[in-house]
Symmetry: C2
Subunit: 343 residues, 2 copies
Amino acid sequence: MDNSRHMTMKDIARELGVSVATVSRALSDSPSISRERRQAIQQYAREHNYFPNVIAEQLRHSRHNPTRAIGVIVPELVHYYFSSILDGIESEASDRGYHIIVAKSNESYEREVQICEAMLKNKVCGIIVSQAKDTEQYDHFLHLESAGVPLVFYDRICPALNASRVVVDDYMGTMNAVSYLIETGCKRIAFYGAPMNMVIAKNRFNGYRDALYKHGLTVDEGLVRICDNRADAERITPAMMQMENRPDAFFAVNDETAIGILSVVKRLGFNVPDDVSICGFTNGFRATVCDPMLTTVEQRGSQVGKEAADILIGLVEGTLPPDRAEKRIVKTRLVVRGTTRHP
Amino acid sequence: MDNSRHMTMKDIARELGVSVATVSRALSDSPSISRERRQAIQQYAREHNYFPNVIAEQLRHSRHNPTRAIGVIVPELVHYYFSSILDGIESEASDRGYHIIVAKSNESYEREVQICEAMLKNKVCGIIVSQAKDTEQYDHFLHLESAGVPLVFYDRICPALNASRVVVDDYMGTMNAVSYLIETGCKRIAFYGAPMNMVIAKNRFNGYRDALYKHGLTVDEGLVRICDNRADAERITPAMMQMENRPDAFFAVNDETAIGILSVVKRLGFNVPDDVSICGFTNGFRATVCDPMLTTVEQRGSQVGKEAADILIGLVEGTLPPDRAEKRIVKTRLVVRGTTRHP
DNA sequence: ACGGATTGCGCAAACGATTGCATTTATTTA
DNA sequence: TAAATAAATGCAATCGTTTGCGCAATCCGT
């Protein structure tokens, strides 16, 4: 039974002996159609649960009306922060009558370009994107903009483009967290950060540095490392803890890294938080699972996603000027748990 | 500069002084157009990077060709297992030239119905769905089927519908895990399961029961609880551990619950795994974060997603018979870590 | 050199909806 | 009673592509 073909206005028109134009006007409640006819048509449509063919509507309006499909490009899907952001985007979008098309770049530039093209072809009304790690050319993004597809970046923004963006307040988040560590008595605070070519990495480092300065401390290069995952953390931390002047606290660029530090530090027989404090960044699933639970900077991915969708929809609907880039910063929040000393 | 309007065949036709029909045929390499014209048109199109308007194509073909948009309904997005599944679906879909439209039901029946309608309107070629927890009516699913939109369930299948589905081998997964617990010397194994109206809950319980039987043990009702989250686990476990005949092992329906048990058991001063073994189900982020690391049943969400997408695409493209429901079971794998004794 | 086959292309009708304009009929006004 | 006005509907073009059919022009064989 492939009677899957749906009822169209033509069907209604034929059945009721009127023209398609009349049906169209009646269904849009045009006053130029007589009351009785209008109601008859509406009732018939309702009873046979007619609904308009979006494809046809879109074709008709393609000149002036964008679709209601938002493209979302995400580097990975199995990832707490990106999931949260996706969640925020989905909520905001669906609240406002949009739907989302999701694609993952797998951190690949090539794939990112393909996805942009495909989304352009599929006529999304705009794209929300976090760049792949190995993206260093931006033609595909420029191409989209020139095709009239608005773009909003989140998390990994494109520094070369003056595009709209939503990021987390990495600087203040780190600054506050490190200040807290200092205020609870830590003096030698190690910093495990991401490679410095990423904007977020730089901002977090600056927050760390300025927190030290503010409290009359200085950056000890021996305590700063490039390290943003658990495996690396487990590899480099033992040496760190065997220095004559070992750190009494760690600030890590994400929870995963912090967990790596924690596991090593515990294994080496130190007490957390009495001997060593540890602070992460994310506040994902992991933070409440480790023992003791992780003190960390809440990244509020869902809020980031909502803001990004809000900007994009504003751009699409014209309530935001298309020429000026809208930049929003989502405040972070320090969540104090068991891996840091009490004041 | 809203020169966002794209080049159409009409533009090419006008420019090259031919008819639109000729352009169309030339671009589809029809031999009925002369070699030179064909190449001229193709070159012009390439140079001005023309690409066809999908909306128009779809309208034209709507009678016979489905779109290449797969609808995916997910109860939550910030959830390890569902993320993995989404990841699998995305991979398979994009490999085969489809894109995915993602919506979350928030575990709400109402929302699920809305989403189904919206997806129907937006002319997805099929839907992959895991039911919301409070869905107990299925008209919306039936409605889709009768509209010719194929449906594939994953994880939470619809028992009342004989629809295609992909599930994990809950029975064998649990059976093997519990057998392992027994073989490592556990005798009183508690079972924390989900409410029994969910199919997966029943299957896991059966696996538990049969593993006991197989080893000459019997089910002790006092050791079976409805509990599928951390908060509940932390609430009910202390009493469990204070029974005169306390359990020497726990099998939990998911990692989250297992973590709850672990934290309580440790807090009460028991040693894991010497005094108490614990086994979870999922193998998500959490499993390697807790201390000791969690022994758990790997659920292979990504594989589930891939299979689901494979079935759906098969249904859409007609390589799978539309009348017979395709049912696949993804094998699980026991991942032994630190919360269980060694053999 | 003429009839038939072949080649190359355009016309026009679809797909399903919208909308300016023309047309018909009914009603009012002078 | 004729003319002007208003009310209700239909015609046909449009969005961008595809495709059956027909029309010319060229080719071939005899």
